[in-house]
């Protein structure tokens, strides 16, 4: 009978106590500190392209790098590709090849000066990257049409914030084109003039309660899409503690490609999720690059001055 020895064991208490002490002694070793190496997920080296075109800018810049496996170490600038052929196309026609740029343009390493993007709303653009070992990667996006702001109204001390402070508000209205998905980016900025005469835009920190509005990358440009108001007039409100009209204040208002919108949203989400560690699930960064990673995004930009 297999249990014979155990059956008789209970007669001998010493065994029980020895067993109990052995349990305790063994259990205390390496209690929380054992680790184990395991294989990483599958990876394939790919071309990575980042380019953001604008309907107002004659400079087209692109960042062309390569991807690494999860466990590879990325050394400084090791990822920049220098031996690729990078070409820009508009509506299927080649505009030209982008030139390799020096380090001072980082994060961009390819660029071209061309009027081919200016005012070409509705045109489809493609960037093609050809590399001797990593193959060919392409990305396409359509330059969105302008959607004008129809009304922008400032009200001083219009609301009380959560801390009991008065805040100014700006109400912004536009008509969303119907039957298509539209994506927007915007920021309220004030001008900052340097002694050299150069004028910069600085961001006004604004707050919003509109559930359709999201924070954008680096919390700079807010994001908005028309899922809930397709084809209708839409008004949203921004608030700021105090708007200082000693400098000019502008609304930078952009219609952006879906790729640009999804990329901005996913970058912020990935960085937020990474900061939260186990409190959030990891998020992948959006890509519209075929046979590669990264994004080709396009924006159509307008500037509206805010009147006091």
């Amino acid at each position: 009978m297999p249990f014979n020895s155990l059956y008789h064991m209970h007669r001998n208490r010493q065994w029980i106590w020895i067993l109990a002490l052995a349990f305790l002694g063994t259990g205390c070793q390496n209690f929380f500190s054992t680790t184990l190496k395991v294989d990483p997920p599958d990876h394939e080296d790919q071309l990575v392209l980042h380019a953001f075109l604008s309907d107002t800018d004659s400079i087209v810049l692109a960042s062309v790098t390569r991807s690494f496996a999860l466990l590879e170490d990325i050394k400084e600038d090791q990822d920049y590709i220098t031996d690729a052929k990078v070409s820009l196309f508009r509506d299927g026609e080649k505009v030209g090849d982008l030139d390799a740029l020096s380090d001072e343009f980082r994060p961009y390493n390819y660029g071209i000066i061309t009027d081919a993007t200016k005012g070409q709303n509705g045109s489809e653009f493609e960037i093609r990257v050809e590399h001797p070992t990593l193959g060919t990667a392409t990305a396409q996006a359509t330059m969105p049409k302008h959607v004008p702001i129809t009304k922008m109204e400032f009200t001083k001390d219009a609301i009380l914030d959560e801390f009991g402070e008065r805040s100014d508000v700006v109400d912004i209205t536009f008509v969303d084109p119907g039957g298509e998905r539209n994506f927007y980016e915007f920021a309220l900025v004030f001008t900052d003039t340097l002694s050299s005469g150069r004028v910069y835009f600085n961001q006004v920190y604004t707050f919003f309660t509109d559930p359709n509005i999201r924070d954008g990358v680096n919390y700079e440009y807010n994001l908005l899409n028309d899922d809930t108001f397709d084809g209708r007039e839409y008004q949203f409100r921004l608030s700021a503690n105090t708007l200082d009209f000693s400098e000019d204040i502008y609304l930078i208002w952009r219609s952006v490609s879906e790729s640009s919108f999804l990329y901005s949203k996913s970058v912020l989400n990935q960085l937020d999720a990474r900061d939260l560690g186990t409190f959030a699930d990891p998020v992948s960064v959006f890509s519209n690059v075929n046979n590669g990673l990264g994004v080709l995004g396009i924006k159509s930009e307008q500037l509206y001055r805010l009147d006091n």
Binding site: L6, Y7, H10, I16, L19, A20, A22, F23, L24, T26, G27, F31, F32, T34, T35, L36, V38, P40, P41, D42, H43, E44, V48, F52, S63, S67, F68, L70, L71, E72, D73, I74, D79, E104, P107, Y108, E162, F163, R198, P211, V217, E220, Y263, S264, V267, N269, Q270, L271, A273, L276, T278, F279, A280, D281, P282, S284, V285, L293, G294, G297
Partner: protein, 809 residues
Amino acid sequence: MKQGVYAYSSLLFLFSILFLSPLAAQQKYTISGYIEDSDSGEKLLAVNVFDLKSQAGGITNTYGFYSLTLPKDSVVLSVSYVGYQTEYFRLYLDKDVTLNIRLNAAIELETVEVVADELETIEQRTEMSTVDVPVEQIKKIPALLGEVDVFKALQLLPGVQSGGEGQSGLYVRGGSPDQNLVLLDGVPVYNASHLFGFFSVFNADAIKDVKLTKGGFPARYGGRLSSVIEIGMKEGDMKEWHSSGTVGIIASKFTFEGPIKKDKTSMIVSARRTYIDLLARPLIKAGFRSNGTEGNAGYFFHDFNAKVNHKFSEKDRVYFSVYTGKDKFFFREEDSEDGDVSKADFKLGWGNLTSAMRWNHLWNNKLFSNVTATYSRYQFDTGFSEFDEYRESDGVQKDKVGLEYTSGINDWAGRIDFDYFPNPNHYIRFGANVIQHTFKPGSFDLEIRSEGPSDNYVLDTILGQSNVNAQEFALYVEDDMRIGSQLKVNAGLHVSGFNVSGKFYYSFQPRLGLRYLLPRNVALKASFATMRQYVQLLTNEGVGFPTDLWLPTTKRVKPQDAWQAALGLAKTFDKKYELSIEGYYKKMSTLLAYREGSSLFELNDWQDRVTQGDGDAYGIEVFLQKKKGRFTGWLGYTLAWAWREFDDLNFGKRYPFKYDRRHDVSIVASYKLTERINLSATWVYGTGNAVTLANSRYSGTYPNVDLEYNGRLSPWNDFEAEFYADRNNFRMRAYHRLDVGIEIVKKKRNFTGTWVFGAYNAYNRRNPYFITVDTERTVRNGTVVESERVLKQINLFPFIPSISYRFEY
């Protein structure tokens, strides 16, 4: 509209069966009464009451009541229940009879086997996807640190999975933990875990029975998508006073029960507390002192259960039960020097309070009712404060900063249930319930106060969201009916409604269960049920925290829905072994999840942080159980798939649920070696949990590249991006573990002492808890000469021995 037609046809089906059933031409009489334990007077539920002559029978309800209506004739009644001696009653039925029965516990194991012939077997029951786990069996299962845990026992059943190493959360058939309706004496318990999920809140010494329903839900159940876990508290011994307790490594518990008035009123009180904080207090205080400060820190949890049961008459009984439990972590430090004082205080606490008042009333020998009024509260609060007092040349400056976060849910509920036994072919249940929910979605109380010569400032404000009130309603009717000798049907309809902020949602949920007896006593079972859930837990897919929020359906956030169909076979072999094989498919819609990048640590409206999507789960479960004899236990195997699909997650692509576990095996065995020694072991195996790891890394570029003031591009325009081919794209290593235990019982007159030795993870398997990326560096002469990125698997529990002592007197 479609739902309405669905419901209407279901009602028609139900009532046609009810009214078309053959009306008895013969004169009939009813035998009814309560069945209880002869020693303690505790009512016994699901006892089989069977007339051997007419082959008609039924079972007792939750309160031990049965009713059997039979033709005028002689009757041979057998009354049988697992662990009790079967009783036989011979009588001539020519009038209505009240027969209250007391069953004696089986003394000899062999006796149990012999007398158990008439027990209701698995193939006789209409219900499927349901498991009753006796508390005595739960107590025999080896437990982590010797702390017996009801939920961890349920995790050993097929179709039920644990979240991760040591976690007590339940994932039933691809559902999430908030889709389980956990009822303690009929009252919902919203957060059923202690110590961040390592232990459940249920003290096994205070519990009478545990029942898990994971599919084929009868109409009386509603409000959750995946399972109903009914936990009944003991009622207290009606005959004599006695007490019991357990002294363990991390906690001790004590239970005291007996008759306040013999056979009339009984009570039970049970309490449990951990004491690591008490034992460690001197060390922790000494640690603070060695740093030149005063302070204390610690963690503990406690539970308290109490119940009073009073019998007014044979027709009326009242029960009052209460449970309260709390987890608390605290840290306090005080530093003083030259009259300046600095204090810091941190606290983290969460806990449940549930209470229930029930009134059982027997209207006549066929109609039984139960009225229940309940209150349930779950509250989480955390906060810190800093206080500084220091002297300045012109007075004393006092500065205080305090931030406190609270969230929770309160429920007031009323419920009425009727059990109607018109004849042995029908067992009709109907009832209604209403719940008043108050949700507290999380608010911050911020206090900043400065008083003194250098600064005077007061800010005392509440940030966050206001409470949400909602009302939930439900009506149900079901009939468990026998149609001929082979077919049994449980058909019913559950109707529910939810009123929140002026929006009213409603749902008609048809339920159907069938059992058809095939040749060789093999039961073919099928079920279909639709479920709706109006309250949900907002949590990430990782570790469950007490901070997770219970939130209502709102105008923007739709209720969660599911339907589930199951098909299975069941058979008893050799009167000892029960085998069931079930296949199921569950479709879930409008499930709730955080939007990508969102978490609970945000001040904006929670509705802005969530998104809704779909899920489905399917699989096959095999369950072989031996309930009687020296050797008891079960073997469970699950082959399953579980998926999620959200427009806003994973770029709209379908992905495996984090707890998609292809294979799940559990073996539970208990062997009574002698009257004094009991051996037990469990072995579990599960496919590794799905986690999300990056396939690739690359330099990402911000879309709005900044120029610096010198006109050059800012070097801070790129970031390390990670590419995930899919969410939950990587499997951790398989999980398997063996736990063993030995019980050694020593009986003296009126006293029984039991030593329990256990070993968790007996072969010290390094089971994964989570995976992280780390950099290993080789250092020579103080310089890093080589670094390597590696994946590290963090393991939580190695071989852990335990010892505890149980006593009863």
